[in-house]
């Protein structure tokens, strides 16, 4: 048996998830072996229904794996969650409609022992960072879908997490805003040293953001290929026009077509 590397943010060994419903058993994930080094940026790419969200949810202690072993930041996922080391951006923004934008971002500091978090950041600064300065007192129903998603990102960052799990956070945004937020996310990652696991459907986003791209195949969800991205850091949007990037994107597309 392999020992979890001390520098691993996430370590999975033979992780499987099976859902039992009235219509039978679905194997969402099968035999996932994965090591995510601390401070790295991993993007997850795969066809719809291949288990990307499920894998993130296992890391966040929202689902218990039905097989295998997982370590998050050196302990169980539950331990990391209780220490408030995990930030999660859901596929649906899941804002509280009765709270203003600012109060939504402040929520993580109000509950679960959030008052005493050493890495906590100022909610107002984070709203500025995601381009929502001036919207502090608006209610979620007054925002567009993309703006709500940006509030959710600010909310996930406010507790200063050491592992940031993002489930298609920019899926609802226009290309220009998405590009800007991609660059900002990379800057944030470089300054904070947070480990980021990022699910996306966009090949370009996966290649531009990740140090590694994990390709998952569907039915049952399993690791297809772990592709290292050799583009130099820090990254700039102009790098997406280099032949290196085009080759990488082409490779990802070809693998994805067979998933």
């Amino acid at each position: 048996m392999k020992q979890p590397l001390p520098e691993a943010a996430v370590f999975c060994e033979g992780v499987g998830v099976r859902f039992t419903t009235e219509r039978g058993t679905v194997t969402a994930l099968e035999n996932i072996d994965l090591t995510i080094p601390r401070g790295s940026f991993l993007t997850l790419l795969g066809p719809s229904g291949c288990g990307k969200s499920t894998l993130l949810r296992v890391m966040a202690d929202l689902i218990a794996p039905t097989g295998g072993r997982i370590t998050v930041l050196g302990g169980t996922p539950a331990a990391a969650r209780l220490k408030r080391e995990i930030g999660f951006v859901f596929q649906d923004p899941a804002l509280l409609p009765w709270r203003t934008v600012l109060d939504n971002v402040t929520l993580p500091l109000e509950v679960g022992g959030g008052k005493a978090l050493p890495g906590a950041r100022a909610p107002k600064e984070l709203l500025e960072l995601v381009g929502l300065a001036g919207w502090e007192n608006a209610f979620p129903h007054e925002l567009s879908g993309g703006m709500r998603q940006r509030v959710a990102i600010a909310r996930a960052l406010v507790s200063g997490p050491r592992l940031l799990l993002m489930d298609e956070p920019f899926g609802a945004l226009d290309e220009i805003t998405r590009d800007r937020l991609n660059e900002e996310l990379l800057q944030l990652w470089e300054t904070t040293g947070t480990t980021i696991v990022f699910v996306t459907h966009s090949i370009y986003e996966a290649a531009f953001l990740g140090q590694q791209v994990l390709l998952l195949a569907a039915r049952p969800g399993r690791v297809r290929e772990l592709v290292p991205v050799t583009l130099p850091m820090p990254r700039h949007l102009s790098q997406r026009e280099t032949p290196e990037f085009t080759t990488l994107a082409g490779h990802l597309r070809r693998v994805l077509e067979t998933c």
Binding site: D61, L62, L82, I86, F90, W98, V111, G112, G134, H141
Partner: protein, 276 residues
């Protein structure tokens, strides 16, 4: 022009003026339309009394009712006071009890499974049957009337509040789980605010039914109150007084409803704003 924050609300005086004008128009409409409807109905009533030559002891004309409202205002008010106290106290007690029981239900499903059928059974007993039982139990004072009003409010609020506390979006619960929130924090920060719109729908129903409960309670045995005055006027064939009493009772009931709606609008700005 006011300071402009990039990406935020931009001051646009013309649009703001248009927005305010539209709000004023809608508010005015909301008052004017029912007033017109009431005036038309009053006119139709007055004319049909004349047209079909209806005797005053069968049905009074609106003018006769108005005269009683003016001349016997003192009597009407001394009778409104006990009914108002009974219905407001009954409203408070009944709803408070329902909120507490709903909280217990959501906290322990087993209690709900055991007690909800009992609540349904008690609720299925008609008010007119419950009232005499309560008079026997609680005597002839205000207490049985308060109890009838409370019981009549209890059930709708219990059902709505339980639903509101329970029908929480699963993503919100997952979010709180990732944040390691305690059950108490989930209750206060998710379940309670989520239940408020449900609670207020029930409270608005309860505002009217509490008054009905107090009046029915007074019918069983009372010398004072809107209910007592209704009986007295009926036995004396004093139809103008009967109608005037009913008008006073309805106005009180409507005012009660109005107060609750006002509180709702202030407390649920996030909920009502996008439904207008």
């Amino acid at each position: 022009m006011a300071a402009q924050v990039p990406g935020a609300f931009v001051a646009d005086t013309e649009a703001a003026a248009r927005y305010r004008a539209r709000r004023r128009y809608l508010a005015g409409r909301r008052i004017l339309l029912p007033v017109v409807a009431v005036l038309v109905l009053l006119f139709a009533w007055s004319e049909s009394i004349k047209l079909f030559d209806i005797k005053p002891f069968i049905a009074p004309s609106p003018q006769a009712v108005a005269a009683v409202l003016y001349e016997r205002f003192g009597i009407l008010m001394t009778n409104l006071l006990p009914t108002a106290i009974e219905s407001v106290l009954g409203f408070a007690l009944g709803n408070l009890a329902a909120i507490v029981v709903a909280t217990v239900f959501v906290w322990r499903k087993t209690v709900e499974e055991a007690m909800f059928p009992v609540a349904v059974m008690i609720n299925s007993i008609p008010v007119v049957a419950k009232a005499p039982i309560l008079v026997l139990l609680l005597g002839n004072g205000m207490e049985p009337k308060i109890a009838v009003a409370a019981i009549i409010c209890f059930f709708p609020t219990l059902v709505n509040m339980t639903r509101g506390l329970r029908d929480v979006r699963p993503e919100q619960i997952e979010l709180m789980h990732v944040l390691s929130a305690s059950p108490g924090e989930v209750f206060l920060r998710i379940r309670v605010p989520n239940a408020l719109p449900y609670l207020f729908s029930a409270l608005k129903i309860a505002a009217s039914t509490a008054v009905i409960g107090a009046i029915v309670g007074e019918w069983i045995g009372s010398t004072q109150g809107i209910g007592a005055l209704i009986l007295q006027a009926t036995f004396n064939f004093d139809s103008p007084l009967l109608y005037a009493t009913i008008v006073v009772g309805s106005i009180f009931s409507a005012a009660f409803f109005g107060v609750i709606s006002l509180v709702e609008r202030r407390m649920l700005r996030w909920h009502t704003a996008h439904k207008e």
